[in-house]
Symmetry: C2
Subunit: 457 residues, 2 copies
């Protein structure tokens, strides 16, 4: 701790010395930033809150009581925190329920296949489906064997390359398989590493193509079935999914803010999505990002720091299977608050609260230069690098309307190990990394809110 | 490939140059070793056999048809391989069946708790057990709260330090909990890393203490329950285990050998255990070690290398929950073959077939020096280091009777990630590492079998 304090001191001396007189940051800003980092790094509050929320409410899936109970608890705590405003913004969200589900390899030998239905999947018919399996590695391979698909289960055994490239089988796999008459489709879970851990996630149907059940088995089992298939063995699977979609249900975004002292109508918004999938604890994705954003604003307030502009935290609901929270916030901003032009910057953390590197920013060069200067103050915790390009799903609608946006960039080496799995649990996070995420969000939010210059678009 | 061949050549020139004239290895030995390494590293046969066995028969648990079917297939293949002798040695083994099992956290909130009963555990009574949970981190903590244990489920949340220290809760946890009136006991799975992956393993009962059900939950859930418990929340779990123990059943060791040309009565024995737990594919533990030992001897035979002494591969059955195979082989050696004195060296691979480092050897200094010289020939694949101390469970009974023994040492960094879990599957292995294990076992077995000097005890 002493060594850390010394390093902090030396770093600040260095920064104070190296920043030129054209700096957007004055000595008061720098002192406040120093306090934010020190307090952010030494606090237990956010870590304990995240842990409590994860343990007490469990996963926070859209439509679940868990989610609404967690939201109520957050609002209660935010009120204790003494924000200027705290409110819940009503959002109607999809209500899909997983139900009991199982898959069993029947041929060439019997074995349980742990699986997770894709969110939104239909159920299998009463009694389940038993069918022969055709294994393909890609949509191109599917096209080559399309005449053999009728009446079968298609297994997409696509090796994880990048999330963007591999997730297409989760998202569109059912549609493509159904076009050729498949009775169900399975994917190899979308992740680069597995310990027999299935991954869920969202999927699409196409109203012009028959809906078929769609689920993910583990990487291990997909690879094994591929090997069996390549040996010419007949693969047969029995599948029982009991998922169902209920009518949309009431959820909420949670919003809290500290009002700006000089330009209260100008808003710096930061947040994460508070909903998660229905497995694990949803801490990496994205309870951690949500609580970090909340803590960033609480910290400022607690330190008595009153920035010129309003700082607002939004915990968006239903990012995972609908983005309804982000869309409703955007609609409200545009149509009711009419503050789109006054949204100075939108910040999001949804890549896990691992060791932070900085932010990926999408906006003007002028803004980029200012953010880069602010980032230099985070050198002491190594999290101030601003790179060009970045954002996030929940700030996406704002960004499409011209709001500069940025997403927290962290060490992502294990993000997709846990993504949408039962293993997205508290023990995967590190308190110091998490506090660095808090401090990083807080410093950027504070500085953009308090500098003289309005961040140029 | 070319670079590899060049490195091989240079290494052999180096070895040829550096070994003194007192060497136990003559030029013929060195030529044979070179061939063994080259052939071992370039072959697909053992890798393909291991994969086929793992996929086709699945886990090979004592008492299961899977195991006996795998043994029959191995015998058939060994006969095709043209060993001098191939036979099955009958061994009666325990027959425990897992059955359906589940655990559910009831309070403070409902959540499924993935679990695996310990091998040998009794079932819960009809309808399961619902009971309050008392959480301890150690037997010492249990002692401190022993007056509160009556009628409860004890959860041992012991953090993994080393396998030897942590496994005591799996092995003796039920006995210690039952002494104080617990109705069941649970452990945090014995592993340093988890992706919601429970670990099974063997356990003991004590005839003087009541038998209670005993199972492992995941590291994640044990940690969560500990946190809830530390917050003063009441923990309640519903447990349903349907395990049962049937009468002992017939299994077999599989034995194959190539007879020595000069000293056929002198035996170098090498092997692994062919049984596994009833989850995963049992490839790391220990199908890989078994197939590597088998391949080591096949390779010699295939290359037409005829060592002076007999080289025998033994695939022991029932290491996991009884060690009956190892004990029966030892009894047979001692009482029937009467070859204990002629067992020159016993070698085992049961630490996973990851990147090999060498062998841990228990025996005389004279033997150690010879093995070290043999190990030098493996420099090219970096697997020839001989360290003092080592052996293995299946060669343990032989070693206790004075047979020099050694166990393959490999990169063990992830061994306990997969140990006794559904994630012990083919994809965790690397073909080149595996072939290095084969070559390493083959070189030591061949050289000890073919040098002039009988390895001194």
């Amino acid at each position: 701790m002493k060594l850390f304090s010394l390093a902090l001191l030396l770093a600040f001396l260095f920064i104070a010395d190296s920043v030129s007189s054209q700096s957007v940051l004055n000595p008061d800003h720098k002192e406040n930033i120093k306090q934010i980092i020190e307090k952010g790094m030494s606090s237990d509050i956010a870590w304990d809150r995240l842990t409590y929320m994860a343990d007490t409410f469990g996963p926070r899936f859209s439509g679940s009581e868990n989610l609404e109970n967690a939201l109520d608890w957050i609002v209660e705590k935010m009120q204790e925190d003494g924000f200027d405003n705290v409110w819940k913004q009503p959002v109607m969200v999809p209500h899909w329920i997983r139900g009991q589900e199982s898959a069993t390899l029947i041929s060439p030998r019997e074995q349980d296949l742990p699986l997770l239905s894709m969110g939104g999947s239909i159920a299998t018919p009463e009694g389940g489906i038993s069918a022969e399996v055709i294994v393909v590695k890609s949509f191109e391979e599917l096209e080559q064997v399309k005449d053999q698909v009728q009446g079968k289960i298609v297994l997409y055994n696509a090796e994880f390359t990048s999330y963007g490239r591999t997730v297409q089988y989760r998202v569109n796999g059912a549609i493509e398989a159904a076009k050729h008459g498949a009775v169900a489709s399975l994917i190899r879970s979308v992740g680069p590493y597995s310990m027999k851990t299935p991954h869920t996630g969202t999927m699409y149907y196409n109203e012009e193509v028959e809906k078929i059940p769609h689920a993910a088995i583990t990487v291990e089992d997909a690879m094994m079935i591929q090997r069996m298939y390549d040996r010419g063995e007949k693969i047969e699977i029995h599948l029982e999914l009991n998922a169902r979609t209920l009518p949309d249900t009431q959820s909420h975004n949670v919003i809290a803010e500290i009002k700006g002292t000089e330009f209260p109508d100008e808003i710096i918004v930061l947040g994460g999505h508070i909903d998660s999938w229905d497995v694990g604890q949803g801490v990496m994705d994205d309870g951690g990002g949500s609580v970090a954003a909340w803590e960033a604003v609480r910290l400022m307030n607690k330190l008595g720091i009153k920035p010129k502009r309003t700082v607002r935290v939004v915990l968006w609901t239903n990012e995972e299977n609908g983005l309804r929270g982000a869309n409703e916030y955007h609609r409200w901003v545009k149509e009711e608050e009419q503050s789109l032009e006054e949204h100075i910057l939108a910040m999001e953390s949804d890549a896990g609260v691992f060791d932070p590197i900085g932010f990926g920013f999408s906006g003007s060069d002028g803004a980029y230069d200012i953010l880069t200067e602010i980032g230099a103050t985070l050198k002491v915790i190594g999290s101030g690098e601003v790179t060009k390009g970045g954002g996030g799903a929940d700030i996406g609608p704002l960004m499409q309307d011209g709001v500069p946006g940025m997403g927290l960039v962290v060490d992502g080496s294990r993000y997709f190990w846990y993504h949408h799995t039962a293993a997205d649990t508290m023990d995967k996070l590190d308190k110091e990394d998490f506090n660095e995420c808090v401090a990083t969000m807080a410093v950027f939010a504070y500085a953009v809110a308090d500098i003289e210059e309005r961040l140029p678009r």
